[in-house]
Symmetry: C2
Subunit: 383 residues, 2 copies
């Protein structure tokens, strides 16, 4: 920028113009608010002027707008490179899934009593004094019922079921009559699509033999898409879950908790006689997770409720994959739940907590606590 | 879980115990609130019992706690594998930085008038009707001053400076006297550490020749750490920025905006004569970004203010790297700013916007808008 004075002029002129533009907008907005009929018609126009920076641009000469267009075109190319990047990240995740698996297999064995940890495997030296202390207390606390229980307890009772109870997102879905079924849940696995296949992952829920259904595994598969939207390439933020598929649950007779039978009276038009018929209607249950709404081709033709339900389903699938399966024990003990709430270790945090204002106050903390802030710049984090 | 009845008993007993435990805690909490002196002493104890799930565990037999410890030990191993994963993601980012660079170089040329886009390069067909319309309006809008300006305007005037003005996080730092300096900013580059080197990235701010300092490039380097904290391995969420380094700005005489000269009156103790001395004191300026606070070894010994300042600095560095440099044109036009505010395209969104309730209302949208929700499960996103 050799011609400095020039650009400064341009800038100040532009600012002036931007001010005028936004004044115009306010007037327009008032009219619109008074005349809802024209609202829809004016929306599009407003979309593009309601943000000051865009109106700032209106003041540039054609040649400059042409250069900005060229930059936008480069930006679309960047988005497509970014998509490829995320595909390679997915390949990396597939590679690492194989590295985690042996640890997850051990976990399964300890949970279900298939194997007992060796002293080396069970040796837990927390660097955290508090935990040491707690551990001590625990050991004393249990000495009493130890003899009684020791022999009978296999693995870690209700491990996965306890996680369902500890995680709000899941406990909201679990009905009382789901609980005895979930007690048979022995493992949850994440399986990635094969290399070269379309990007997707499956959640496998492994159940022990039970009186409710004959499946040993219930699966939910999430299809992902890692490519910029043609109509809005700049909104690309990485792979998205775009669809999901459940599985058929082979319920044993009279055990299907996803339906309930209701009685209905029917009157015969002619004779006027009344008969009672029974019909089955859908019933709230976690196990509806395995028969999700179908996404239409473009995803547009779903009504808002369905779209919301589907979005919630996607979020749950993502949460199983990114948090619960990789960190199950921390959701069992509650440690991960502290983290998810930005649980603060500083005194302030606890005082607030004693006041029983955890949530709100902690969110405030989250904004002002450097530790939390400085942990933000992780390169690759899930939301 | 063959012995089902058994586990159900265990569960209900445990729940009972958990209830009792949390009652105890409330009583304890009351005492503490009445007697602040004992607060500190009790904090540690409370840390570990304040979350119901943990107290749930206190009721398990020793053998079960032993298995849970084994799971925790496995979890630490997972955290270390995860750290390796993020290192490989960093390598991927380095690889892709090389793929983006040619596009960023073109961008720099168009911005600074080193090159003019060809018709093919400038051909911007928006799929979005509104934009088409706007584009049309823009072209008309500028026809007037076109002839006058066309010849004089080089590249895209004030491109980077405009981004500083559009992005709140940056405009907050920019003082009036910083503005003429920032108008000389010609490019911002992100450089990653070499393979095998400790994980870090540098921001390079490239300036044109100017009257303020002789540097052509100002750099800020952020050091990252991708390894679980020994004292708290479960909190590991990926690489963190742990330290940063600025650079020396070779200010030209009397041009250093990061200091100001103040006059001070001094009274001579003996004679009582008064003399006026001048001294230099720090001055608010964006350019203080290049002389950040030093992190101490453990990062603990900083006072809260410094920690907060540092955390904010880390966040800005992260934002330059993850958002501004990769998507500069969208921050110039404001499109990315819409996105960052979860700008909604649906009518609802705009009505609220007309009411000038953008922020709040949009945040509500963010919770209830499926598009936004379903875009959450991106595999690799920045916060």
């Amino acid at each position: 920028m050799a011609d400095n004075s020039k650009t400064e002029d341009t800038a100040s002129e532009s600012l002036e113009a931007a001010k005028n533009a936004s004044n115009k907008k306010e007037k327009l907005a008032d009219q619109v608010m008074q005349n809802p009929q024209v609202l829809a018609a004016l929306q599009e126009r407003l979309d593009n002027t309601s943000v000051t920076p865009s109106s700032y641009i209106e003041t540039f000469p054609k040649a400059v707008i042409r250069r900005i267009d060229a930059l936008k075109k480069l930006q679309v190319k960047c988005a497509h490179i970014e998509a490829k990047f995320y595909e390679e990240v997915h390949d990396l995740e597939r590679k690492y899934a194989a590295l985690y698996q042996p640890l997850f297999d051990k976990r399964r064995e300890f949970i279900n009593g298939e194997a007992e940890p060796t002293d080396a495997e069970a040796e837990w030296h927390s660097e955290n004094e508090d935990e040491e202390k707690l551990a001590g207390e625990l050991k004393n606390a249990v000495v009493i019922d130890e003899k009684a229980e020791e022999a009978n307890v296999k693995g870690i009772p209700d491990f996965w079921f306890t996680i369902f109870r500890n995680v709000d997102m899941l406990s909201e879905l679990v009905q009382e009559y789901d609980e005895p079924i979930l007690k048979h849940l022995q493992d949850i696995k994440v399986k990635f699509s094969e290399p070269g296949q379309p990007m997707s992952f499956s959640l496998e829920f492994h159940f022990g033999p039970n009186d409710y259904f004959s499946n040993s595994v219930l699966t939910k598969t999430y299809k992902m898409k890692s490519e910029p939207d043609k109509t809005d390439p700049f909104s690309f933020e990485g792979p998205e879950i775009v669809d999901c598929e459940g599985c058929t649950i082979d319920w044993k007779k009279g055990k299907n908790v996803t339906v309930k039978t209701i009685k209905k009276k029917q009157k015969h038009k002619g004779r006027g006689t009344v008969r009672t018929i029974t019909k089955q209607v859908p019933n709230d249950s976690f196990f509806n997770f395995f028969s999700p709404i179908k996404v239409s081709g473009d995803g547009e033709s779903l009504d808002e409720d369905s779209e919301f339900t589907l979005a919630a389903d996607f979020e749950i699938g993502h949460f199983f994959r990114e948090r619960i399966v990789p960190r199950a024990v921390l959701y069992f003990t509650g440690e991960a739940i502290e983290d998810d709430d930005n649980f603060e270790e500083d005194e302030e945090g606890e005082e607030e907590e004693l006041e029983g204002e955890e949530e709100g106050e902690e969110e405030e903390d989250a904004e002002t606590d450097p530790k939390k802030e400085s942990s933000q710049p992780a390169e690759c984090k899930q939301q």
